[in-house]
């Protein structure tokens, strides 16, 4: 189990008929992930199972921890050992990870957390789909912070975005959340795995100075500090307390706190053009824009097509990156459109962000779904029609 036994042998290439969970695991392996610390939970278990089988084949380590708290803690530890690391869970486990997600954020630890969302709250509907953890992905840990969350709509996208998640994690030194769901995780489709050399790989940014000149939390101009890991001779100190650039705790200075927190937030917000990925379909000319993500963006394609067939000018704006939120784009579109329709498998989460950014210039219609199934195309179609029909009124983000 020597450290450098990280091999690229055993990496798949070609076309496969695999489910989203498996694709996620394979994406991680292609992205260079060599540590998985996890705990089984429906519908994310297949990721762990795949990793348990595959990691040893590529020189990585799988460990099933005693719970999700231990899982994320081990992932953070492994990342500080210089290994790309991830865990995967679903709602209940994600909730348990919230405290240590905060540790990952304040210590700026690159790693990937996958949440295969299921019906909630609580134990809810373990085997069925939900998108109820989207706001939790933004706000679930205590204190002020920013986060990156991606949302795939198919196994192929789950593969692709898992790779992107690892690269964003390294680039911005932060835990990145892949907010997928049961529908995608358990859906089997063709997944094409390109040759390894064609897969983007953002290598960890290392210090360019010797240990005695190194300040572990002195950022580069983009707000991200280069990262020395354990065992590299830098003698770093890493703490979850408010700390200065040296990494030393300073828990009584408002200035230290402000500098740290503002930078943690700024490094995401200031780089949002790089982080935010949107997919737009006929948005520019649209009267109505359907804003959706993940599986709901996919199911929305049908009603959008139906509406267009009815002669309505409807665009589809797919949030591949959900957090940071595509605030600017929505603000830009709001004066140009009549309304936004936001289908999500929850009772109104991202719709509230859309409504906020629409700033009253376009109405926002939530198409809620309590969970356990996908939107029926007609539900979204009705909402589209409601925007375009004259009697419709202002915002309705409540169910």
């Amino acid at each position: 189990m020597g450290r450098r036994r990280v091999s690229n042998n055993g990496i798949l290439q070609g076309s496969f008929f695999m489910d989203g969970d498996t694709a996620c695991a394979e994406g991680a392996i292609c992205a260079g992930c060599r540590f998985f610390g996890g705990y089984p939970i429906t519908p994310a278990t297949e990721i762990a199972e795949r990793m348990a089988r595959r990691l040893p084949q590529v020189g990585g380590t799988y460990i099933q921890m005693e719970d999700e708290i231990a899982s994320i803690s081990a992932v953070l530890g492994a990342s500080w050992a210089g290994t790309r690391a991830m865990t995967a869970t679903s709602g209940p486990g994600f909730s348990l990870m919230m405290e240590n997600l905060g540790l990952g954020i304040i210590t700026e630890t690159p790693c990937v957390l996958v949440n295969v969302q299921r019906g909630g709250p609580s134990t809810g509907m373990p085997t069925l789909v939900g998108q109820g953890d989207m706001m939790q992905a933004r706000w679930g840990s205590h204190g002020p912070y920013e986060t990156i969350a991606l949302s795939p709509g198919s196994p192929q996208e789950l593969f692709d975005l898992t790779i992107r998640a690892f690269n964003l994690a390294e680039k911005y030194r932060t835990p990145v959340l892949v907010m997928t769901d049961e529908a995608v995780g358990h859906m089997t489709e063709r997944v094409v795995i390109p040759p390894l050399e064609e897969i983007e790989y953002y290598a960890r940014r290392k210090p360019q100075v010797p240990p005695n000149g190194y300040l572990p939390y002195r950022p580069d101009p983009d707000g991200v500090p280069p990262m020395a890991c354990a065992g590299e001779g830098y003698r770093i100190h890493v703490t979850g307390l408010t700390h200065n650039e040296k990494g030393y705790p300073d828990t009584v200075s408002v200035e230290t706190q402000q500098k740290l927190v503002e930078r943690l937030i700024r490094k995401i917000r200031a780089n949002q053009d790089d982080i935010i990925e949107l997919r737009e379909d006929q948005v520019e000319e649209a009267d109505v824009v359907v804003v959706a993500y993940g599986i709901s963006a996919r199911t929305a394609a049908r009603p959008v097509r139906m509406a267009r067939e009815m002669g309505l000018k409807v665009g589809l704006l797919k949030l591949v990156t959900v957090w940071p939120f595509a605030e600017e784009r929505i603000r830009e579109l709001a004066p140009k459109v009549e309304g936004f329709v936001v289908p999500e498998i929850n009772m109104g989460q991202i719709a509230q962000e859309v409504e906020r950014c629409a700033g009253g210039q376009a109405q926002t219609i939530l198409v809620p779904h309590a969970g356990g199934g996908l939107h029926h195309p007609n539900d979204v179609l009705e909402a589209i029609k409601r925007v375009t029909s004259p009697q419709s009124t202002s915002a309705e983000t409540s169910p």
């Binding site: 020597g2 708290i69 803690s73 953070l76 530890g77 492994a78 354990a230 065992g231 003698r235 100190h237």
Partner: protein, 278 residues
């Protein structure tokens, strides 16, 4: 009165400073707290160990003890309350060449972190855990810990503790640790030796250190000055190497059995993993 200290040479540096973050000293620990001495023994042990200090990592949780990682000039991680062991597990598995030591308090390791402790022991994860037992939560000002003796008073057991405490060596041994020792903080030489042995051990090794928290536990239980408390624990201890750790309970009064209790060989998680992968 004079303005001088008789016959003392005034220094700026200490021989152990190279392993310390001098810019963070003095540490936050109270005068008379045992924690500083534990750190001294640890540094002294490090000096005697034949290790590349760049490969030694210290992980702490949250608590007074948890501050230890912050004073050592090693790679150090001050994690969240209770999570030092799983974080250390990730470090070790992420880079098995690291020598990973967890230094944390009884509350951190045994209360909120208890599950990680027993599971790491069960897996025989190759870590050394130094658990400083001061019978209470010092950092949050002296509440009940799972090590607080029955009937002892703390700020959250003002009428006397209604719980039975854990016996740390027994719990460690019963869940699979391969090296287990206990000393009081005044057993500096023996403690240092046990730390060396524990760090040389392949597997999950645990050293419990009984240490006074004069500021809280000592005051709540009217144990006199810090010095008296240290002496009290030392005087109450009976060295009984290899004795059954099940017998090593600590009560509000009565003896404290110390010594090396367990030193066995057993494949570690990494050993077994390597076997399984092949």
């Amino acid at each position: 009165m004079v303005d001088e200290l008789t016959d003392v040479l005034i220094s700026k540096h200490h021989p152990m400073d190279k392993l310390l973050r001098q810019d963070r000293l003095p540490h936050i620990w109270c005068s008379g707290c045992g924690l500083g001495t534990v750190l001294t023994c640890f540094v002294s042990a490090l000096e005697k160990l034949d290790l590349d200090m760049d490969q030694v990592v210290v992980v702490s949780g949250i608590g007074c003890t948890g501050r230890a990682a912050g004073y050592l000039n090693l790679d150090g991680f001050h994690t969240t309350h209770g999570r030092a062991i799983p974080f250390a597990t990730g470090l070790k598995l992420g880079n098995p060449e690291l020598k990973v030591v967890v230094i944390s308090g009884d509350g951190d390791l045994m209360a909120i972190g208890g599950n990680h402790f027993i599971h790491a022991a069960r897996r025989n994860m190759d870590l050394t855990v130094i658990c400083v037992n001061n019978f209470n939560y010092g950092m949050t000002s002296g509440q009940l810990a799972p090590t607080t003796p029955t009937n002892a008073r703390t700020s959250t057991s003002p009428y006397g503790n209604a719980e039975h405490p854990f016996n740390v060596p027994y719990l460690a041994a019963a869940t699979g640790a391969t090296y287990v020792a206990r000393w009081t903080v005044l057993h500096v030489r023996r403690l240092e030796r046990s730390i060396i042995e524990a760090m040389n051990k392949r597997g999950f090794s645990v050293v419990e250190v009984i240490s006074p928290c004069p500021t809280y536990y000592g005051r709540w239980n009217k144990m006199g000055s810090a010095l008296e408390q240290m002496k009290y624990y030392h005087d109450k201890s009976t060295i009984r190497h290899w004795s059954d750790p099940a017998q090593a309970d600590i009560g509000l009064e009565g003896q404290i059995i110390v010594g090396r209790f367990v030193d066995i060989d057993k494949p570690t998680f990494c050993d077994l993993l390597q076997g399984a992968d092949q």
